[in-house]
């Protein structure tokens, strides 16, 4: 591989996404991507006793299905890279325990899907593992309780608020192309923390937009690309408010990506009929959209090459209550169609 610029890696030998799965809740199942998800829960408890257990169950199911689709067993996986939004990542710990795959826990708020795929790619491309699995999740009810107000409190949500996706996406990465290969990871750009001083946990899109703009610009600079190199530049969960800010910031840096920008948070719900305000968010948002929709477009050759940039807001209830800002981070991955163009 080659180290490009300050933050990017070009993989000379790609890492293959050889299987993936998406498991979502009822609201996501009723949204525009509903029919594409592998599994939609009958209700958002998924047969469990608590929201946190339900989120654990999402991760467990997503990994199970991704392994099945890749034709692999848990013992074929050398490591699992996993994380979620809950304090001390308990959705991960209790969801993945029974797989008995060596665990490397990651935390990057809603950018965690990008971080887990980045580290998983390093492990495979670096020769530390032939196969790994990456999984992340979020759950609307556990996230509201963790970050804002318990649902029972019935607080009103401003229009800038996003709706945390109930969902989990899992991805089996491998060193070899297989029949099940959905896409190739050919490079990545690791993000820095970017803080513009915003303090509104009900407007996370705006908080994360500067980080998304920074990572996208850095990726284009490090690789020497114009935006046209990518069929789509896809952010995680900026939503409609964050999207505007991000596009403006990139214009200031000399890049206009408006014609090829897509945001998973905007795609996953019908904002008007589903009353989700600015859009979807959460670790699960970019993960399930990647598995269900983005990889499908690459597989079918509708897109040849995309930049996938999950975005995270680095806050906690404690930091928010203590008056801290909400810094953002975003990690970018270059995803290409399964076969190299001849």
């Amino acid at each position: 591989m080659s180290q490009l610029g300050k933050q990017s890696i070009q993989l000379d030998k790609p890492v293959y996404i050889n299987g993936s799965a998406s498991v979502v809740g009822t609201k996501e199942g009723e949204g525009p991507l509903g029919l594409l998800f592998d599994m939609v829960g009958e209700d958002d408890m998924f047969g469990c006793q608590s929201w946190e257990e339900a989120e654990s169950s999402l991760q467990k199911d997503a990994v199970y299905l991704a392994l099945q689709k890749a034709g692999k067993k848990p013992e074929d996986m050398r490591y699992i890279f996993a994380g979620d939004l809950l304090g001390q990542s308990i959705a991960t710990s209790f969801g993945l325990m029974n797989y008995q795959i060596p665990l490397l826990g990651v935390y990057g708020a809603c950018s965690t899907c990008g971080e887990s795929l980045t580290l998983g790619s390093m492990a495979v491309a670096g020769g530390f593992a032939d196969r790994v699995v990456c999984v992340t999740s979020s759950h609307f009810a556990s996230a509201e309780k963790e970050f804002r107000f318990p649902l029972a409190y019935g607080n009103q949500r401003p229009l800038s608020a996003s709706w945390t996706v109930t969902g989990s996406g899992a991805f089996v990465l491998g060193a070899q192309k297989e029949e099940t290969t959905r896409a190739r990871i050919t490079g990545f750009t690791v993000g820095k923390i970017v803080d513009y001083g915003l303090k509104d946990s009900m407007n996370m899109g705006a908080c994360m937009a500067p980080a998304a703009a920074a990572t996208i610009a850095q990726n284009l600079e490090d690789f020497g690309y114009e935006p046209e190199e990518y069929d789509k530049i896809i952010t995680g969960d900026l939503g409609s408010v964050g999207q505007k800010v991000m596009l403006d910031l990139l214009r200031e840096k000399g890049y206009d990506i408006a014609d090829r920008h897509m945001d998973c948070g905007i795609e996953i719900y019908d904002a008007e009929s589903q009353d989700t305000h600015a859009g979807g968010s959460g670790c699960g948002c970019s993960a399930v959209t990647l598995s269900a929709y983005i990889l499908k477009q690459l597989e079918e050759g509708n897109w040849k090459k995309v930049l996938f940039v999950p975005t995270g807001a680095l806050l906690s209830k404690t930091s928010y209550n203590e008056g801290q800002s909400v810094p953002g981070i975003a990690h970018g991955l270059i995803l290409e169609i399964p076969d190299e163009l001849g």
Copy 2:
């Protein structure tokens, strides 16, 4: 590098620890290792307004000093691998923001020091970075608030409870040996989640002991070593209660390591005079002991080769209150003296 067995990696070309630093609070400064730490705070607020900010300040100072000792600047570091115990890792986010080093956040409870060094080693040995920095922290007051009771509540602590170390340890890893090199990382064993069903967050040593025993046994098996291969086998923060459990479990697996076992949690305080009960714990415990004491022994040639196994208890206040068990995880690193033996 070679993949050994199910969980271990042998690095053919070692990764060098080219600088490190430890920053601790007053109680640690008064303990048996007090004189060895690089910086001891005058009080445990470190000039900040909240315990969380104080913990951020610990990480910032530890990275600053480690870079200084390695003769490097923040911009020389390609990635920072960092984490802490607080929900959403806020000590890390707010402590490291200003360094502007691309961040990969990790979470492994008190095993996070081992996880960050493992991933940092992968990044360097895999050619993704020439230099990275790894940092972890914990703070007694922020951890009690996060996991058990706020200090102001004045609850009584059972004798099996451990005392969370106020401290942060940072490590600069590089691909090249330098004048400042303190030790070589020559291999590692990534841990699995191990759950014996214990539910007592006031006896975390016993909760983590099975994971420590599993990782140590797996390391010996994967590398084909007897315990005598290591001058010391060092766990993170089992404390006196967990130590007994771990030694018993390893005897059942056919390994007696009692004559060469050391636990950072036991070393860092004088349990009797400092009233710390079972011993020290927290991400900071193994990190500051590694920097201040273990690396010193390797540097001076008192020990040639050790197995360093930070141990983590995967609980949160929420999982505990919902009646979940406290599973453990432990990651092992093989550390050797700076120069290869001729």
